[in-house]
Amino acid sequence: MTAKRLHPAALLYFCYQTTKNALGWLLIMLVFNLDMLKSPWFWWIALGLLLLVITASAIKYWRFTYEMNDLELSINSGLLFQKHLHIAYSKIQTMQTQQWFYLRPFGLVSLQIETSGHSEDKAEAVLPVISRAIVEQIQELRFPKQQSIPNETANPRVESQPDDSASLSSETQPDETKSPSTVSRPVKIGAHYRIKWDDLNLYALTSLAFLPLLLGLVTIYNRVSDTVPQKYLDSALTFVAHESLLVLSSLLFITLLLSLLFSYLLVINRYFHFELVQEGKRLKTSRGLMQTKEVATPVKKVQAVISSQTLLRQWLKLATVEAVLASQAGSDEKDEAGLVLLPVLKRSQVLVQTSRFVSWLPAKEPHVFMTAEGGRWRIIRNAVWFPAVVTLASAILFWPYGLLGLLVVLYACLCGVYSARNNGLSQGQGNLLVAKTARFLSRKTFFLPREKIQAVTLKQTVWMKKAGLTTVELTLRAGNSARYVEVRYLSTQVAQAVYRWYRQGG
C-alpha cells in the first residue's frame, strides 16, 4: 500500500498549532519591547511570521505520511529531522479518537495510538486529522474480523526482543477461552451499556468537582492579588467589609452555586451519551458533548478493575467503575486514574454489570479480611500525628488563631477512621485478588487478576511483627508507570497467605 497523506484539513490544524507556538514568541518579543507595536515594522514582522507559519505548516503537512500494510502501521514525518515510526498492529494497546463537534459533519477525527512501551508520556502515534473510515480500517487490521484466534497467534512475532510491550501468546489464558467472543461468530457485538439521562444527572450532581473548582478560584484570587495594585484591592475589600452580613453571605452563596453549576455542566459535557460496548475482544467507550472521545482497548489489556465511591456517593449507594490500563488513554483528567467503564451505578450492581464486559470478574465479591486488631489505631495515628504536631506548633506561635488547625486535625482524624474501616484484602482465590483501600474519605475496591500483578511486597516493622501485623503492597502497571496499591496493617497470616498464593501462580 502506498503512503497516504492526512486529510487536507490537517493543513489548518498544523497552521493553528504553529500559530499557537508563534504567538508565544510574538508575545515574548512584545514584552521586551512594547514600542514595537507603534513601529511601522510591526505589521511587516507579523506578516513575515504569518508567511513563515503557513510555509512551516505546509511542509509539515507535505512530509507527514502514513502507511498501512498487513503487519504494521508506519508514520513518516519531518524534513530536517525525519522520523519513521512503525507500530505492529498486535502491539496496539489503545486507540483513542477525539472529535470536536465542528468536525462531525466532515467525519474527521484525531487518532491517538498507544502501545505499552513507556518511553514517553504521550501517545506513541498521533494522526491529527483523518477520516473515520481510516480509523475503522486500522481497527479492522488490529482486530481482524474473519480471522479466528489461531490465525492471529500465527502472526509473525515481531516481539521476540524482551521489551515490555504486549504479546499475543497469552491468548491461552483461561479468561480468554471463557469469553464468548472467541467462539463461532468472529465479531460479536456483545454487552452494551448506554448511560441514561437520570444516571448522568446523578453522576454530575454527586461529582464534587466543584471542590477543586473552588480551590481554583482561590488560586485565581491569589494571582489577581499579586498583579492588581494593592490600592484597588484594599478599596474593594473595604467595600465588601462595609456591606451587611446578608449581602456577604448571599455573595458567597452565589459563588458556590455558580461553581456547582459550572462543575455540573463540565461533567455533563464530559460524559454526555456515555456508551460502553463489548465488540469481540475489545472494549469501546465513547463519550462527550463538545468533543466526542472514543477509546478502544483489548479486554485482556485491562490491568485491574476499580469500583470507587466518594463519601457522598457511598451514602447514596452509588459507585463508579474504572479500568486500569497500561496506557494513558482516557485518563486525560488528573482525578481519573483509568478508563471509566461505568460512570454511575448501584454499588450492589457493580459486579453483575461489569462482568458482562470483563469476563474474569467474579459473580460475587469474595470475603475480604479487613484491618486487623491493633491496625485501626495505627492507621488513625499515622493520619493524625503530622497535622497534630503542626497545629501544636502553630497554636504556640500564633495564639489563638493557630487553634484553627484543630479543624484540620479533626478532619485528619475522620480520614483515619474512614481509612481504617475501608482497608482490606481477600485471600486470593483462583486467579483473583480483591483489595480495598481508602484515602481522604473516598474508597476504592480493586479487582486484580493475578497475572497482572507485577510484584507483591510485604512490609513489617519490628513493632508490627510483635503485634502480628503486615502491610501488603501490590505493584500494578497503570498508565506509563507503576501504581502501588497498599493495604495496611493486615493480620500477618492473611498477608502471608496472599504472598504464597501470588508466588504459586508464577
Binding site: 494497546q93 521489551d163 504486549a166 507485577q454 512490609k459 502497571r477
Partner: protein, 157 residues
C-alpha cells in the same frame, strides 16, 4: 526450596567508599559556603549548618552499613525472584519471573573497582535492584532469569 543469598562481602567496602565520597563532596560544598560567607557576606549561620549535617549524614550512613548488609538477601527460585531487606523496617518482595521484561547488568566505576555488578530486574511496572553481585553470579543470574522467562508464559501488561 530455600536458597537465600547474601550480597558479596566486598559490597560493604563499596558502600563505605560511597559514604567517603559523599563526605568529600559535602566538605567541598562546606568550603564553598565558607568562601561565600567570607567574601559575599552570606548569612553566618549557613556555616554552622552544612558541616554538622554532612557529618551527621555520613556518620549515620556508615553506622548503618553492617545493618544494611546483614539483613539484605535475595533468592531466585524456579518461579520467582525474592528480595528481602531490613530488620526494623522489614520488606520482602516477590517478582515472578514470568513478569520480568528485562534484566540489566550495570557497573559504575566503584563497582568495577571491586569487580562487582548491579542487577536490575524490570517488570512492566517497576524496576527492582540487586545492588551488587560477582560477575560470574550476575551472568548466572541473568541466564537463569532469561531461561525461565523463555519457558514461562508471557504475563505482561
Amino acid at each position: 526450596m530455600e536458597n537465600w543469598q547474601q550480597l558479596p562481602v566486598k559490597i560493604k567496602q563499596v558502600w563505605r567508599l560511597e559514604v567517603g565520597i559523599s563526605l568529600v563532596v559535602g566538605l567541598i560544598l562546606a568550603a564553598g559556603m565558607f568562601f561565600a560567607v567570607y567574601f559575599w557576606h552570606w548569612a553566618q549561620w549557613l556555616n554552622y549548618i552544612i558541616v554538622p549535617l554532612t557529618l551527621l549524614d555520613c556518620g549515620i550512613e556508615s553506622a548503618l552499613i553492617p545493618y544494611r548488609y546483614r539483613f539484605w538477601r535475595y533468592q531466585i527460585t524456579a518461579s520467582d525472584v525474592e528480595i528481602e531487606a531490613g530488620f526494623f523496617w522489614h520488606k520482602q518482595v516477590a517478582i515472578p519471573i514470568s513478569r520480568i521484561q528485562n534484566v540489566t547488568l550495570e557497573a559504575g566505576p566503584l563497582l568495577q573497582l571491586f569487580g562487582l555488578q548491579k542487577v536490575k530486574v524490570e517488570t512492566a511496572a517497576a524496576a527492582h535492584e540487586i545492588s551488587g553481585v560477582l560477575p560470574k553470579q550476575a551472568e548466572l543470574l541473568k541466564k537463569q532469569i532469561m531461561e525461565l522467562a523463555q519457558e514461562g508464559e508471557d504475563n505482561d501488561s
